[in-house]
């Protein structure tokens, strides 16, 4: 029974169209940003591209011929799922961060972006994948033949429809490669995801699972009566049954084979190019791994559930294991259920198609990036490059598919499906050591990876691929039996005399032995290059949080390249819009200077970004080569900074050298307070430690110009000779004005004319100007360092160190300045104190002199007692009293008070005394005396803005008459003994110094014995106590009344005592002067 050719072709065509539509829909949705494939279900299903027609047909074939070991091909991947969250997630993270496009790109990137490694892996992948693709095409063409009516599939050479078989295989190859081109090679950016392709793969995964389950259920439950029925029926054929349900015999070889299969499948699941592509490159979120980890194994479990029943059922139905590979198809056909067979055919076709499409896309990317690119990068980039490259990629897809087709034509019929697939698995297994080592072992290096993979590959080729050629009869030789040149030791299937193992174990053992051996040996024995070390960090430490390790830039571009130059370069490989978009995204808010460049420390990052972007299209190795060759074209190259710290430090911690310099510098600053010595020692230290040829410190002077303060090193007049007014046309000016270090790492790249002119006369390779400034304050000077020979001296780290030293210096300057300012202040204070002391002493002297001008003791006049006292205040004052005896009986006495307590008042008092003494004798009238005095003193008083109050009295003892005049003085008190009362004496008169010509009233009164006259100054009445009360006239009168009974001196003392007890203050603020006249009883 068969299905008609037309039906098969028609249904297949419809199915392909459905695939196209689904893929197209997914692609369009993806473009619109509403991805339908970006979810864990589709991701898990797409990983099931692992299940090819090898699974679909081959599992049954293997189960029917060798028994249970088919399961290992699926058990292995299932077990690896445990490690996905660790390993797969790490791989995915690395790929996303480095724009990695394929497994070849991954490994070559890890090992220093080696083009050789990339090419080697690509060659292995292509060679390894050809049998696999061939297998798929063989399955499609064979099943096509079967379903169209030819069931003699075990004699394919003799069938009549040879041309039909060729046709179907060819057409399948053509259709699938076109599919791959449309959905897998739309753009050059291979690191981006192909949503259409993934959608088609996922759909195919569903189809193959469902159809296989349908066939399984049909065979198990319709042809037979469930699992146990099949087992019990086969049990009748005891030998076959035993062979298939247990591992034959007790030999170790079976267990070794078991382990081999497990290992091969475990390496295949992630390292086959298509698996890597689907699982890593097409992954849209790390979270999807979590779901896929159990969904994918469950998928494998489900698709294998009915393998044994179908295989055993096939043996029971056909009576033999011949054509067991196609039991899935033949069992429904035999039982007349052609529609189930057609479904099975579609399932098988899906399995094959999914594999071919993904594999060809993945491998063509590798082909383009690692085989074509290394040649292309040697050419000068042209504008039509993007077009050429994309077409080369499409060509790669055709190439892969049709190489598989050719292999199938030549030797497809000798091996069963499983055997052909295993060759590919064994090839992919060669990537295991380099892959695992690359992810977790820092020491793993390029030499190790290349030698390991190369050796493994050679052994694989010799012990596995070559025998497959020989067995197929394509190459007639007896190497297999006798070994090359008769050397039995080198027999491919029993290498080095290791007999007793199956071909797979033999090949895997020896290839892994040499592969891992070389990898380990070379990695340990040889050093890693600079570039390699950079990459190691990106791979092994990919999960280390960013920012935990602030990297110092250790590389520089010897000649700056502008952003535009990079854009132009990018555009040549990715197309212009993409180039602008990428750079725009990168620059973001980074600073660009007026010439369209970025800072020197940013430049290497920009270069890396350009490389990374290019890598997304052409692979990391080629991208590296492209950028490097471009740089060398413009005369620039990436080179390390001069290693001032004797080892390239990339970690946070400072090198011990830098710490040493810091320590030394702070010692210098603390050792001395002399700025000149500090500066000289610091410059000395810099020159010694950093091999500068000249180091200069300039500070800004009062005119704002930078003047050389100190320098060490060679004397260069053009630099040391001039005082610089800071302006932006020189680096030093810019450094000072912007308060940011300015540096030139290669004097050939200088752009400032002023500096160029200076350097024309003195040859320096690199120099830097570091502002001397304290944190957050403007610069006060510039530290300049120059080197004649060393290019690329100033790293960010080094400048930081210098800036910190300059900051320390600024601090030291500040401290010295502050100390000097304090010293100055102290001196001034001392001087002021001395001055005050002198003045105080002078004042004291003046006070004493003034005091001595007052009469020592009153003259004695018969009938009266006189007493007087002046108690000076703390400072000089203006109180004055005096006696002028005119005759033995007549005496004049005066009390006066010059306003204010100044030296002026004291002088005026002295002048008053002199004038008064001279005037007294010229007239006898008290009014006239004061009047003349006023006239004489008026000018002096008004000039000094002082006034005098005065009371002048004359006492005649003969008739006890008192005549008196007052110039606005406190009214003296007169105690009348007979009345025992006090009265105030008043007379008309203005205080002296107000007007030049004033008349003073002269009053007369008679005194009786016992009367007491008290003259006083306002120091008494205005004396204040703590409460702010004044002593006042009332209290004075009371005090006088209490004291009148004593003699004159006692009265004076009594009153003074009263005042003191009232104020209770030691320091009196005003002079207190009292004159007492007592008429004796």
């Amino acid at each position: 029974m068969s299905v008609g050719l037309e039906t098969v072709v028609g249904v297949s065509l419809l199915y392909v169209i459905l695939l196209f539509l689904v893929a197209y829909y997914a692609h369009v949705k993806g473009e619109q940003g509403q991805s339908i494939v970006s979810n864990p279900y589709i991701y898990s299903l797409s990983i099931a591209v692992y299940c090819t027609s090898w699974t679909f047909y081959g599992s049954v074939g293997k189960a029917a011929t060798t028994g249970l070991d088919f399961i290992l091909i699926y058990l292995g991947p299932s077990l690896t799922a445990f490690s996905w969250w660790l390993i797969l997630r790490k791989i995915i993270r690395i790929c996303k961060e480095n724009n990695i496009t394929s497994i070849a790109d991954f490994l070559s990137s890890r090992y220093g972006k080696s083009q050789w490694l990339g090419a080697l892996i690509t060659v292995i992948a292509i060679l390894g994948i050809i049998p696999y693709v061939a297998l798929q095409l063989k399955a499609v063409s064979t099943t096509f033949l079967i379903i169209c009516g030819n069931q003699h599939i075990h004699f394919p050479k003799e069938i009549i429809g040879q041309d039909v078989a060729l046709h179907s295989g060819f057409i399948a190859a053509l259709v699938l490669s076109i599919f791959g081109i449309i959905f897998g090679a739309r753009s050059l950016r291979s690191s981006e995801r192909h949503e259409g392709l993934v959608a088609a793969i996922a759909l195919e995964s569903i189809v193959k699972l469902v159809t296989f389950l349908i066939v399984g259920i049909f065979v198990t439950f319709f042809l037979f009566d469930g699992f146990t029925d099949i087992f019990s029926r086969l049990k009748a054929q005891q030998t076959v049954y035993d062979h298939l349900t247990t591992l034959g015999g007790e030999g170790e070889s079976d267990y070794a084979n078991w382990l081999t299969m497990l290992f091969l499948s475990m390496s295949g699941i992630m390292l086959l190019p298509r698996q890597f592509h689907i699982m890593v490159i097409e992954n849209s979120s790390e979270e999807h791994i979590k779901e896929a980890m159990w969904r994918f194994p469950a998928y494998l479990f489900a698709i294998n559930l009915f393998v044994i029943p179908i295989a055993f059922g096939g043996i029971l139905s056909t009576g033999s294991t011949k054509g067991a590979d196609y039991f899935v198809l033949t069992l429904p056909l035999l039982s007349g259920h052609s529609w189930i067979a057609l479904l099975a055919f579609l399932g098988g076709f899906s399995a094959a198609a999914g594999m071919i499409m993904t594999e060809s896309v993945a491998v063509s990317t590798m082909f383009l990036n690692h085989l074509v690119m290394p040649i292309v990068v040697r050419l000068t980039p042209r504008s039509w490059f993007p077009l050429l490259l994309i077409n080369l990629k499409r060509f790669g897809i055709f190439l892969v598919v049709f190489l598989g087709y050719a292999y199938n034509l030549m030797l497809g019929d000798t091996y069963t499906l499983v055997n052909m697939g295993l060759i590919s698995f064994a090839a992919a297994a060669q990537f295991v050591p380099a892959m695992l080592g690359g992810l977790y072992w820092r020491r793993g290096n390029k030499a190790g990876a290349i030698s390991g993979i190369l050796c493994g590959f050679l052994v694989w080729f010799y012990s596995l691929l070559l025998p497959s050629f020989i067995i197929s009869g394509w190459w007639k030789t007896d190497i297999l039996e006798k070994g090359p040149f008769g050397m039995a030791l080198l027999k491919p299937t029993e290498l080095f005399g290791l007999s007793g193992l199956d071909i797979w174990t033999n090949s895997l053992f020896w290839s892994m032995f040499f592969n891992a051996g070389c990898y380990l040996f070379c990695s340990i024995a040889l050093r890693q290059g600079d570039k390699e070390r950079d990459q190691v960090r990106k791979f092994v430490d990919v999960f280390r949080p960013k920012g935990e390790e602030p990297r110092w830039e250790t590389k520089r571009l010897s000649k700056p390249v502008t952003v535009m130059q990079f854009v132009t370069l990018l555009a040549k490989f990715t197309g212009e819009p993409q180039a602008y978009a990428a750079i725009g995204e990168y620059l973001g808010n980074r600073e660009i200077d007026e010439k369209g460049g970025v800072s020197e420390f940013e430049l290497p990052n920009l270069k890396r970004f350009v490389e990374k972007t290019l890598a997304g299209s052409v692979g990391a190795a080629a991208a590296g080569a492209i950028v490097e060759s471009y740089l060398s074209d413009v005369g620039s190259k990436m080179e390390p900074f001069y290693d001032i710290f004797s080892s390239v430090r990339t970690s946070l911690e400072e090198s011990s050298e830098a710490l040493y310099v810091r320590l030394k510098a702070s010692e210098i600053m603390n050792r001395s307070l002399d700025l000149r010595i500090i500066m000289e020692d610091l410059l000395e230290l810099l020159n010694k430690e950093f091999k500068f040829d000249l180091a200069v410190i300039r500070t800004v002077d009062s005119t704002g110009a930078l003047r050389v303060q100190s320098f060490k090193g060679i004397e260069v007049d053009v630099i040391l000779g001039n005082t610089i007014v800071p302006e932006v046309d020189s680096y030093i000016g810019e450094a000072f004005l912007t308060n940011k270090a300015q540096f030139v790492n290669d004097a050939r790249n200088i752009t400032k004319a002023y500096t160029q002119a200076i350097l024309a006369r003195q040859n320096f390779s690199s120099f830097a100007h570091i502002p001397i400034a304290r944190e957050g304050e403007p610069a006060t000077g510039i530290l300049s360092v120059f080197s004649i020979n060393i290019v690329g001296l100033f790293t960010e780290q080094f400048l930081d160190l210098l800036a910190s030293l300059a900051g320390q210096l600024a601090q030291a300057v500040k401290i010295v300045e502050e100390r000097e300012a304090r010293e100055q202040e102290r001196k001034e204070k001392e001087k002021a104190l001395l001055e005050t002391a002198r003045v105080t002493r002078d004042m004291e002297l003046a006070k004493q002199i003034q005091h001595s001008l007052l009469p020592d003791a009153p003259p004695s006049i018969p009938g009266i007692e006189l007493a007087s006292r002046c108690i000076p205040a703390t400072h000089i004052g203006g109180d004055y009293y005096d006696y002028f005896p005119r005759s033995p009986e007549i005496i004049d006495f005066v009390i006066a008070d010059v306003s204010g307590h100044s030296v002026g008042a004291a002088l005026i008092m002295v002048e008053t005394r002199s004038v008064l003494r001279a005037q007294v004798m010229t007239t006898s009238s008290t009014g006239n005396i004061i009047k003349q005095l006023n006239a004489l003193l008026y000018e002096d008083l008004s000039r000094a803005e002082l006034f005098i109050s005065m009371f002048y009295a004359k006492y005649d003892a003969r008739d006890r008459t008192l005549s008196y005049s007052s110039a606005g003085h406190n009214q003296p008190l007169l105690y009348r003994h007979c009345e025992r009362s006090c009265e105030e004496l008043d007379a008309e008169g203005m205080i002296l110094g107000v007007k030049p010509d004033v008349e003073f009233e002269e009053k007369r009164l008679e005194m009786a014995p016992g009367d007491v006259l008290l003259l006083y100054t306002d120091g008494i009445t205005e004396a204040e106590n703590e409460a702010g009360e004044m002593f006042g006239t009332e209290r004075l009168m009371a005090a006088l009344k209490r004291e009148v009974d004593g003699d004159a001196t006692a009265i004076v003392e009594g009153i003074y005592r009263e005042v003191r007890s009232f104020t209770r203050i030691e320091i009196q603020t005003d002079d207190i002067s009292v004159v007492v006249l007592k008429v004796l009883l």
């Binding site: 399961i71 058990l75 445990f82 699992f227 194994p297």
Partner: protein, 84 residues
């Protein structure tokens, strides 16, 4: 909280550890290899199924369940982290 819930929570906590992943991965490898396989490599039927077939399929199913539990434990952990 019932003893079962307590037990479940404790198990989930253990499953979150990376070490557990590695241990189960290695355990799976060992269980599916010689000499373990040798124990089940016998001409015996259990419930009408060949012993080795049952062992392999059963072991496989168990391993899938364990991975499922692992991922659930991880999600649980994620939720907790989100809440914090």
């Amino acid at each position: 909280m019932t003893p079962f819930q307590r037990w479940k929570r404790r198990m989930l906590k253990h499953l979150r550890l990376m070490e557990s992943w590695v241990i189960f991965f290695l355990l799976g490898l060992i269980m599916m290899n010689y000499p373990f396989i040798h124990i089940f490599n016998k001409n015996v039927e259990v419930f009408g199924f060949p012993l080795l077939f049952l062992y392999l399929m059963g072991g496989w199913a168990v391993s899938i369940c364990v991975i499922y539990l692992f991922t659930k434990a991880m999600e649980d952990n994620n939720h907790k982290e989100e809440r914090h």
